[in-house]
């Protein structure tokens, strides 16, 4: 076995369902045993292969019970990936399954890349040669999708904070480097353990802040990104309101919920929806005119689900048709609203345009048809039509895992300083912190340290 051990949630998202975290690799048993306390006290590594065990996941840091679980222990090669595989069945939905995943990631597993289980199954000879092409396609498709989401997040607040922090670390690194590579350069004070401790402490506090922010954002991100589009006055706001009122908006117990990023998060028949903030949607009242504008495209591109609203009491316009074009190939539910008014819309044409989509009619004013809409959303989801939705969520899990690792490395750097380890060696951990933060925003270019070195200091012969 030549790969490291990977973990991911391997069931689709959904409230109330049993969710499974899968762990694969030669350390799968070892990592699971760090967290799992079986009812009989038996270690998983001593258990017979292909058996299932009841017990608890313990957070090793606190010693407290995190989840009640059933764990399947399967030794390779008779597994999906041909590697040792552990599957942890959690009940209690996303929050609990995610907690288990994070614990695994903090205890030696790495978050699986898109399509990685399948890739391993193939590389380990589990999957037939004829399927190689499909495996490559899968990796490509999943990655591109994840990239889209990651790019969207790049522009967010989190990424700005990370960039700022990375720049600060980079300046420390450049300072250490200039002392090493230009020992006679006298224009900068020698980096001392004292300064390094101060700076590391600051970096640590900032990472902890980022981690809190990410964890707050997490629950909100754990929904299908859902965008409501339509011309002005078709009833988009009413739709949002009735979805929110009908279904109690999910209240988190985490303070400071980032309402500036996401306006509403609702649970529709077990399907978590993240309704893009109404301000944003209102701002794009003129979405038809701006359909070519990059920002609108971006919002739509990242959406998992589109709710396209039409006005029953108005004629179908070119703008409406343009919206249909813009959402082609996506998961769309077409909602013809204002059924309480006189019909002016050409329903035949609407049906034609909605051929590939689900179509519901509503009168939001009279509270009619909302049930049908919810039914449509739920069935889309549970039929598995919407599948890529967990990318945002995975991407966020990745952030948290990387932030946790970054926290560990900065801790190690600080321990190094305390021990009096030479600064150029402590630097190894500091550099790793910088790289991990870079992975979150998809930037780990080594050259930037050298760029920093020569822009920050006047060096030369």
């Amino acid at each position: 076995m030549e790969f490291d051990t990977i973990a991911a949630i391997s069931t689709p998202m959904g409230e109330g369902a049993i969710a499974i975290v899968r762990l694969s690799g030669d350390q799968a048993f070892e990592i699971a045993d760090r967290l799992f306390r079986g009812a009989g006290g038996k270690r998983l590594k001593d258990a017979a292969s292909h058996t299932i065990h009841y017990g608890h996941i313990i957070d090793p840091k606190t010693g407290l019970i995190a989840e009640e679980v059933m764990v399947s222990a399967m030794k390779g090669p008779k597994t999906f990936t041909k590697e040792d595989v552990i599957e942890i069945n959690c009940h209690g939905g996303l929050i609990s399954v995610n907690r288990v995943l994070q614990l695994l990631l903090n205890n030696g597993a790495r978050l699986a890349e898109p399509g990685e289980f399948t890739k391993r199954a193939f590389l380990n000879g589990r999957i037939d040669l004829s399927q190689a092409e499909a495996v490559m396609d899968l990796i490509r498709a999943k990655t591109d999708r994840a990239m889209n989401v990651a790019l969207g997040q790049m522009e967010g607040r989190l990424s700005k904070l990370i960039q700022k922090l990375r720049q600060e670390i980079l300046e420390i690194l450049a300072h250490v480097e200039v002392n090493i590579d230009y020992p006679e350069y006298d224009d900068v004070e020698e980096m001392t353990h004292h300064i390094l401790m101060e700076k590391s402490f600051y970096v640590k506090k900032e990472i902890e802040k980022l981690l809190r922010t990410s964890q707050q954002g997490k629950i909100l991100r754990e929904g299908l990104s859902t965008v409501i589009v339509g011309r002005p006055n078709v009833g988009k706001s009413s739709l949002l309101n009735s979805l929110v009122h009908e279904n109690k908006a999910i209240v988190t117990d985490i303070p400071g919920t980032t309402r500036d990023v996401i306006e509403e998060y609702v649970n529709v028949r077990g399907v978590p929806l993240r309704l893009l903030d109404t301000a944003g949607i209102r701002e794009t009242e003129d979405i038809v005119e701006r359909i070519g504008v990059e920002k609108s495209r971006q919002v739509l591109k990242e959406a998992d689900l589109i709710l396209l609203v039409l006005n029953y009491s108005d004629e179908l316009t070119a703008e409406d048709e343009n919206i249909f074009k813009a959402v082609e190939g996506m998961d769309v539910i077409v909602i013809v609203n204002k059924m309480d008014l006189d019909q002016k819309i050409d329903m035949e044409r609407v049906k034609e345009l909605s051929k590939k989509h689900k179509l519901v009619t509503t009168s939001l004013l009279e509270d009619k048809g909302v049930d049908d809409l919810e039914e449509a959303i739920a069935s889309l989801f549970f039929e598995g039509t919407i599948e890529a939705g967990d990318m945002t969520y995975v991407s966020n899990t990745r952030h948290i895992a990387l932030l946790n690792q970054a926290l560990n490395t900065i801790d190690e750097a600080m321990q190094g300083v305390e021990m009096g380890t030479p600064i150029d060696i402590v630097q190894i951990d500091l550099t790793r912190t910088w790289e991990l933060l870079g992975e979150i925003i998809g930037d780990s270019v080594h050259e930037s340290l050298i760029d920093q070195l020569f822009s920050q200091f006047c060096l030369g012969k």
């Binding site: 490559m136 480097e177 020992p183």
Partner: protein
Amino acid sequence: MTYEAGSYDVIVVGAGHAGVEAGLASARLGAKTLMITINLDMVAFMPCNPSVGGPAKGIVVREIDALGGEMGKNIDKTHIQMRMLNTGKGPAVRALRAQADKFTYQHEMKKALENEPNLTLIQGMVERLMVENGECKGVMTQTGAVYSSKTVVITTGTFLRGEIILGELKYSSGPNNQQPSIKLSEHLQELGFELVRFKTGTPPRVNSHSIDYSKTEIQPGDDVPRAFSYETTKYITDQLPCWLTYTNEETHTLIDNNLHRSPMYSGMIKGTGPRYCPSIEDKVVRFNDKPRHQIFLEPEGRNTQEVYVQGLSTSLPEDVQQKILRTIPGLENVQMMRAGYAIEYDAIVPTQLWPTLETKNVKNLYTAGQINGTSGYEEAAGQGLMAGMNAGLKSIGKEEVILSRSDAYIGVLIDDLITKGTNEPYRLLTSRAEYRLLLRHDNADLRLTELGYKVGLIREERYEKFLVKKQAIEEEKNRLQGIIIKPASEVQALIKSQGGSELKDGIRASDLLKRPEMTYEHIQKLIPAEGTLDPDVTEQVEIQIKYEGYIEKSLQQVERLKKMENKKIPENIDYDAINGLASEAKQKLKEVRPLSIAQASRISGVNPADISILLVYLEQGRIAKISAE
């Protein structure tokens, strides 16, 4: 008229720092070697600073030595001072630097070449390569002499279409007014090589008699005798100092007022210069808030009055240079002997090379040194050694050698060049090495002697000595790991005197050594070894034990790297046939043609998904092949 002038295994074109290592390596491993240089008086000439080593570079010199190269031995014989840098820092970044007597350096190196049995050294200007069906079969000189060979190494430095720029003056020239090599550059283009134009520069030289040293600070060498080579036994004790002075407001105003006459700012210089070696005008413009810049005065040798003015590299006109010099304390009445200048030259885009330094375009042709886009004597020598070694090995039908990034700084250097390319003259920095804790100056022999011996560049006698040292290190490490030190009163007293906290219980000697306040010497006092151990041995024992945790961490990373390196990519792979690859990745992969998955993953523009897809594709090919058999 052309004539047949002889037949060799390997021909090395050029005898600078890359050329001499290439020629010696090839000859020493048994290939009949010819070296051709434009001017025999310029062998191993130092056209810029008279020094060898320094951070990262000094480690390269040690690596060259461990692989049987000459640079370390030569500087050990010819330096005027030597210093260990970064002694206050960790072992990974310590490095030796020597000031050279540049004239004796050249003469000693020439002697080494002349006395090498398998090596012929001649003067001549190579203008063409004899290329048939994409294979290099020899070279032709200006006089029509055709030399045939199995492989050729080109090390042309800054001679390729070189142009010196000094103020408003610009003329065709190699370094230090040598004859430039113009036709070879054109010929390389004809052969399909992509060339880039780079620039570098050098400061003025002044007469030592005209310097008032009382206004400067002395910079002496170390009191302890030092050497680069593991074979050196004779140390130079009478050292010459260097001197430190500074520029000031007056200097900067003068430069500002003359910027319009600077070829850098008038647009006359088009080549890309290195950021790490800016001219003084560049420093003043870019860092105009700095009140002063350091200037080191470095003697160029024992039998000359010429002094190198480090920190004042410039291409300003001669009269301005003279005036600038005289604003500097100690140089008020200085007599400038040679003006500084900038030089532009052609280099080949290094992604056109395999990791062996053989060109992808023309088989059996290798390049090394500045022609590959680097700068620095040590970088040149390291590449020269590898190119010469591989050209030699190939000519006698043996397997070529590629150093990994985890083996040596030389490996980092070559991998960076051929995988990432460079858009400025490339210089090694310690931060370019991911595993610098493993790539130390003190363990270069432990890392590379075995390889040097295997390819025939390390002699039996030295190898045996090396094995003895290696064994001594292991034995002493084992001894310290095996002994428990009890909390006896003399132990506690020693620990306390070093500011550590007293032992509560017995402790393994190796664990006690890991404490920051403890040194090997302390441990040795408590539990003396039998007989005296070589300081080289105890240094290794101390470093290896003290930093074990960090070393272990680096080794784990190397382990992962090795796995990726073992996943080879066949040379004839068709990237266009792999559907899943992103188009940017395809293009980069086609350009670089990496030999392993590890190398592919370092190419900018190739992301992890592309690597995954490549892995699946390769695996598919492998399975298909097995089933076909």
